[in-house]
């Protein structure tokens, strides 16, 4: 069988890189990074580590194009799951005003002019029942 046999040194190198990245992610977590960058940095390091494992430990680097496609499909679908769900949840409560203004705190009405309640109408009539 013509399976690719990596030299042992490759595995030890990847292991060393994974250990270094683990140390890096712990150190980065204890530093207060500006602009809430802690979460993206931690995620970025994890994605890099996962890529190393997939390519070298799981032999995808030496696999057929079909294997590469299937492996890529997993993360493609994961991306759809996360991005579309987040696009829904995180955009709830957003207002789109007719004139395009979405400044925070702005009172937005979908009708062109708010209809004032006629002053002659008694308040009791507007209540239910």
């Amino acid at each position: 069988m013509s399976g690719h046999i990596s030299p042992k040194s490759t595995y030890y190198t990847i292991f060393g890189a994974l250990m270094a990245c683990t140390t890096l992610t712990v150190i980065a977590a204890f530093i207060d990074l500006p602009a809430n960058l802690n979460f993206p940095v931690a995620l970025g390091i994890a994605i890099f580590k996962a890529t190393l494992v997939v390519l070298f430990f799981m032999h995808v680097k030496y696999g057929s194009r079909l294997t590469k496609l299937i492996a890529g499909v997993a993360f493609f679908f994961l991306g759809i799951l996360l991005s579309l769900t987040m696009a829904d949840y995180l955009s709830r409560g957003w207002f789109t005003a007719p004139n395009g203004s979405t400044a925070p705190g702005a009172i937005v009405s979908l009708s062109p002019k708010p209809q004032p309640v006629p002053p002659t109408e008694p308040a009791q009539n507007t209540s239910p029942k």
Binding site: I5, K8, Y11, F30
Partner: protein, 230 residues
């Protein structure tokens, strides 16, 4: 018609490997098909954990304070130790697959046993972490206790902590079971450089479980450590 199939093979004149199934051209094609099938299974596993990660991300965006408080309760030393253990077990697994590829039967058994030992180490550490959660009443449910106004949201954090690490630990237990079977097969000299597919596929599974933990460690243990020094 098994008799006809055997006869057809015999007509070619060259005996084939006992592990080769009759619907494949050769061992290479069979190995390729097996690898592809394993990867398809791993795609479903990615989606399985992806759903939990999605729930985690959404609640983290909604309740960032509760996430910071809950994460600080986790033991970063045990979590970090387990990360090293699991990445180490991925190394021993990769070396085990390599030993099977090169036909080193004794080395294959050795690396697989090493991998099992590291997997069990991980599970034992996880047991002590869980026990601490029970002692501190941090297990979600009627007995959950957490001081402060964020308590209900911290309970959501711990629910996801137990869901994610619990399902991961279950995968580890299944993995250790697989390794035990493989070790027995390797000990009985069932593998050769021509056919080592089960070792390779179990390796894919083990590395996948490792990848899950690579994400779980920063997501659960390192949420907001910069503001709360240990």
């Amino acid at each position: 018609m098994p008799d006809g199939a055997i006869a057809a093979h015999d007509e070619h004149g060259h005996p084939h490997h006992p592990a080769l199934q009759h619907h494949f051209e050769d061992l290479e094609q069979q190995h390729e098909a097996s690898t592809l099938g394993m990867w398809l299974f791993l795609v479903t596993e990615v989606m399985f954990f992806g759903g939990l990660i999605l729930a985690y991300t959404l609640y983290r965006i909604w309740y960032p304070v509760a996430w910071a408080l809950g994460s600080d309760e986790l033991n970063i030393y045990l979590g970090g130790f387990n990360t090293v253990v699991l990445i180490g077990s991925s190394l021993t697994m990769a070396l085990g697959v390599r030993a099977a590829q090169t036909g080193q039967q004794r080395a294959t058994v050795g690396w697989l046993l090493f991998t099992i030992a590291l997997g069990l180490t991980f599970l034992v550490v996880k047991f002590f972490e869980y026990r601490e959660k029970f002692e501190k009443f941090h297990v979600p449910g009627p007995n959950f206790r957490f001081e402060g106004p964020e308590s209900p949201h911290v309970q959501i954090f711990f629910s996801l902590y137990f869901a994610l690490t619990g399902v991961h630990a279950l995968h580890m237990i299944i993995g250790v079971g697989l390794m035990s079977v493989l070790t027995t097969m390797a000990y009985r000299k069932r593998f050769s450089p021509e056919w080592y597919t089960p070792v390779e596929l179990a390796g894919l599974y083990w590395h996948f479980v490792d990848i899950v933990w690579i994400f779980l460690f920063p997501l659960l243990y390192l949420v907001d450590r910069s503001h709360h020094i240990i």
